[in-house]
């Protein structure tokens, strides 16, 4: 190993660079050969080579290298092999800030794109790091916080697109990592910025390298740990912001490049800092060359950043089993040892009453034809009931199911930042819907729903198959889910980027809405919710035991692997059914279990019931706000709940030790 490792790095880099160079030469070669000869007048091929192809190549190399460096720094300062601009929400923050500025302060963009992006990355980064400092930068917690921030940014961006002229939607999709260039301004602007940041990183190599020692050892050597950490993080953040501002979100290069470098044998930081950017540059160049070749004249509309995520996330799936994350257990506040005096029944009765009261108000109160608030009675009531009742019932069902799925997953993984969204089933449902939209001329609601269910089931099988290999180690299942979510998101991004008006349909569904719900499917959802929640209550005992750890569980006679499999299947079923109603972005599966725990419901059984009630209430409120806030324009309930839920959750997590 010690002899082959140093050799493997250049070999891997060559494996990326050689095909990339070959593809680029095939594409650009003929024109390059002509460069020496003089032409008279306008020569579009030469102009495209000089002002589009070559700057594009330069941009790919610069952005890839910068993201690789950013990833290495983040992984080093956080001691977290999963950290990257993508997984920590930095790129998403920059993108959201740019979208906001485009809509509300276009003047800002004309002189300060970088500043706007930097601000966005900074806000996202601070939110994630703030949780990280409290939680001792525990790898999975940090990445999940980053994921929440990313999802939140995405939710807000989607809402902005929905609220604005849908003919402008592609404006935002172009933000999704298009390397397409028309002059040298972008690479020439990137070069000095990246050079300065790379120099700063080089100066930090030695102190950063010492971070791998224990804190006590490092302090003994006179290292200011906090200063070094924040310095490294600041450089990484600036790299991510500058690159996102120039070319949009290039998914996963910052995660994959350092990972490849490490697996290929780059053990020391100094060698990672050298090789990860090289591999990142090669990776992005190769991806872009392939995109150029495969898409031909359509290359302009294929955002390479979305393609790298399609490449990158499966690679992450392959790498996962080799990563030494370990089944780290965080102290879990749900542990049986901390059971308080039982006040469960009273809380549950109050929660039920609250749900009934709020659902009743949501049905009775609404906006009239003139936009004013109306309390519906008598005749007016009979005209609005057919519209409002199915939606409220569907909201109850979906909120309840996602909440129960959240309780199961959080207990199963002993990680309170897990949610149904991250296991990827929601993304699978979305993918199925996309297929239905683009493969059939005019899909009916039934077609849409069954296609979404098929997609969800497919991901379920994939997640379970991958989970089996690790004996259903919780963290690996969740990480596989994250990678899968990213992959499906990227595919959807590619589909949307075609500029096809149907993409908007997909977008409105992703946002999550009880919209158009009819009574019968609403009742079916409700029955399904009641049934699956009943099953969850039946197996609640397992959920009390499993968080105590595999050894304890075995000791009390639980067959750990089959029980985990059964619980995962249940959670996936709940997630799929709930997602069909409110879309993949709602945070109700994350929020509700926490609210239930805050209410003092700490054992599994009361937490399941309480979370279901809270989740239902949250969705009913979100649906009410969505129906009325922008009247007559509908805001999707899933997005509304995400907008409220994500910050609440981040605060909650920060407070918790």
């Amino acid at each position: 190993m010690t002899h082959t490792a140093p050799l493997r790095l250049p070999v891997i880099a060559l494996l990326l660079f050689l095909p990339a160079a070959a593809l680029s030469l095939a594409h650009l070669g003929p024109e390059l050969a002509h460069l020496g000869t003089a032409t008279d007048g306008f020569d579009i091929d030469r102009l495209v080579l000089l002002y589009s192809d070559l700057p594009r190549l330069a941009t790919a190399l610069l952005a890839g290298a910068g993201l690789g460096l950013s990833g290495v720094l983040l992984q080093q300062v956080l001691r977290n092999p999963l950290a990257s601009p993508t997984t920590l929400g930095l790129s998403a923050g920059a993108e959201l800030a740019l979208a906001l500025a485009t809509l509300y302060a276009p003047g800002l963009l004309m002189f300060g794109r970088d500043a706007v992006a930097l601000l966005g990355s900074l806000v996202a980064g601070l939110a994630v790091f703030a949780i990280g400092t409290r939680r001792n930068f525990a790898p999975v917690a940090l990445v999940l916080a980053g994921l929440i921030v990313s999802l939140y940014g995405k939710a807000l961006s989607s809402l902005l697109i929905l609220l604005h002229d849908h003919y402008l939607m592609s404006l935002f999709i172009w933000g999704a990592g298009s390397l397409h260039q028309q002059d040298w301004s972008i690479p020439l602007a990137l070069l000095p910025r990246l050079a300065v940041l790379a120099l700063a990183a080089a100066l930090l190599i030695r102190p950063l390298g010492l971070l791998t020692l224990s804190d006590e050892q490092a302090q003994a050597l006179g290292l200011k740990i906090a200063l070094v950490r924040w310095g490294g993080a600041a450089i990484a953040l600036a790299l991510a912001a500058v690159i996102t501002s120039a070319v949009g979100v290039i998914g996963f290069v910052g995660l994959v490049a350092p990972t490849i470098a490490r697996i290929a044998g780059a053990r020391r930081l100094s060698s990672q800092i050298l090789w990860a950017p090289a591999i990142g540059a090669g990776l992005l160049w190769l991806t872009d060359a392939v995109v150029n070749m495969a898409a031909g004249p359509l290359a302009a509309f294929l955002p390479t950043g979305a393609v790298t995520a399609v490449f990158g996330s499966p690679l992450l799936l392959l790498l996962l089993p080799r990563l030494k994350i370990g089944d780290r257990r965080e102290p879990l506040p749900t542990a049986v040892a901390r059971v308080r005096r039982a006040k469960g029944p009273l809380v549950l009765i109050l929660a039920t009453l609250a749900l009934v009261a709020i659902a009743g108000l949501a049905i009775l109160i609404g906006r009239g034809t003139d936009g004013g608030w109306v309390l519906a009675t008598g005749d007016a009531l009979s005209t609005v009931l057919p519209w409002r009742i199915p939606r409220v019932l569907a909201a109850i069902a979906a909120g309840g199911m996602l909440a129960v799925a959240g309780v199961i997953l959080q207990r199963l993984t002993a990680n309170e930042m897990v949610s149904p969204e991250v296991i990827g089933v929601s993304a699978g449902a979305t993918m199925g819907l996309a297929a239905a939209l683009f493969l059939t001329a005019a899909p009916t609601l039934t077609t849409e729903l069954s296609a979404a269910a098929a997609g969800a089931a497919l991901v379920l099988v994939a997640v379970l198959a991958m989970g089996r290999r690790s004996g259903f180690a919780p963290e690996r299942v969740v990480l596989a889910g994250i990678a899968l979510t990213a992959l499906l998101d990227a595919l959807i991004g590619l589909v949307s980027a075609s500029g096809d008006p149907r993409a908007l349909q997909l977008l409105s569904w992703i946002s999550g809405t009880t919209y158009g719900m009819e009574l019968r499917p609403a009742l079916v959802s409700l029955a399904l919710a009641a049934g699956l929640t009943g099953v969850a209550c039946f197996v609640a005992r397992w959920l009390d035991i499993l968080p105590l750890g595999t050894a304890t569980a075995r000791a009390v006679g639980v067959a750990v692997s089959p029980v985990r499999l059964a619980l995962l299947a249940l959670a996936v079923g709940l997630t799929a059914a709930g997602t069909l109603v409110v879309g993949p972005l709602s945070f109700v599966g994350l929020m509700a279990p926490h609210v239930a725990r805050e209410l003092g419901l700490r054992r599994a059984l009361p937490q399941i019931i309480g979370a279901a009630l809270c989740g239902a209430t949250i969705m009913v409120v979100a649906d009410f706000v969505g129906r009325n806030a922008g009247f007559p324009y509908e805001l999707p309930a899933g997005l509304v709940s995400a907008l409220v839920g994500a910050p609440v959750l981040l605060l909650l997590l920060r407070r918790r030790q």
């Binding site: 306008f42 002002y51 849908h166 404006l171 004249p297 519209w387 409105s508 158009g516």
Partner: protein, 300 residues
């Protein structure tokens, strides 16, 4: 080819547009008394067509964006906004108590809900095969039948034919070069309209050549990088249709590639007031009139 000076373009066209709107289109068929049907439309093009037949809908989807995308004729302020077209506010729609709902296959998934409220007339203008203007003509007649205004529909279409013919004569006299029609997405990308676009059909009717012959999707556009505009037929004028994103013009002014495009270098770039690319006969007429005024301007 009469070069079009960009500096002149914008205001001149708005004025020209307003002038010929007065003469050509803005004198629709007489609006009848309100005993007519209570109509709602989930599609701009169909709403526009109904108005051309003298029936103003009581509700239109995304009415707030009408003045930006459809522009003419202005939508009366008392027309209710039904919300986003994919997320029609069904409660409000039901409260309007319509007796006919105009829809397209684009909102097919809502069909069963809509039929609970009122009969739905779903008309297809954009489909994988065929030409939208032809379908829009057929849709106008179908709508005329359904609204009991077949004579109005026939008269409107006859008038449209006459106007297309009139513009065709003007074009034939001025003999302008080809045009390439784009909507800017941002400073690097644009939608370019070609085969199967409503605009293409309108160009065919007035005998103006489209300088873009590349493939397009079934809505009739293709998203391209701006440098691909160099593949347009030599002598083409690039015509950007409004609205144009705010940061596009300053960015393009600096772009070596853009400024060296043959059309731009020769000053053959112009901007056209907004016209709905995904509309029906009225949008085709508005576009044809604007583009005729633009390309024949130098000939007076």
């Amino acid at each position: 080819m009469a070069p079009v000076r960009p500096a002149l373009s914008r205001r001149a066209f708005v004025l020209a547009g307003a002038a010929s709107a007065a003469s050509a289109i803005a004198a629709p068929l007489p609006v009848r008394a309100s005993e007519g049907p209570r109509l709602v439309s989930l599609d701009y093009g169909l709403a526009n067509t109904a108005m051309a037949l003298g029936v103003t809908p009581v509700g239109v989807a995304a009415a707030a964006g009408w003045s930006k995308w459809v522009v003419e004729p202005p939508l009366p302020a008392n027309v209710a906004d039904l919300g986003m077209d994919r997320l029609i506010n069904l409660e409000r729609l039901a409260a309007l108590k319509p007796n006919l709902i105009l829809a397209t296959p684009y909102v097919a998934s809502l069909r069963s809900r809509l039929e609970d409220i009122a009969p739905v007339l779903s008309l297809t203008i954009y489909a994988p095969d065929g030409e939208p203007l032809e379908r829009a003509y057929a849709a106008t007649r179908t709508l005329g039948d359904r609204l009991d205004r077949r004579a109005d529909a026939d008269a409107y279409l006859a008038k449209a034919d006459a106007e297309f013919a009139d513009w065709r004569t003007r074009i034939a006299k001025a003999r302008p070069g080809p045009v390439v029609l784009i909507n800017f997405m941002d400073a690097r990308h644009a939608r370019v309209y070609g085969a199967h676009a409503l605009f293409q059909n309108a160009l065919d009717r007035i005998g103006l050549k489209n300088g873009w012959t590349g493939p397009t999707n079934f809505w009739g556009f293709q998203t391209i990088g701006l440098e691909q505009l160099a593949q347009a037929e030599p002598g083409s004028t690039i015509v950007a249709i409004e609205p144009i994103p705010p940061d596009v013009e300053p960015t393009l002014a600096e772009s070596p590639l853009w400024n060296r495009l043959p059309a731009v270098a020769a000053g053959r770039y112009a901007e056209l007031p907004g016209a709905l690319a995904y509309g029906a006969v009225p949008s085709a007429l508005r576009f044809a009139r604007l583009i005729t005024d633009l390309t024949t301007a130098a000939h007076g």
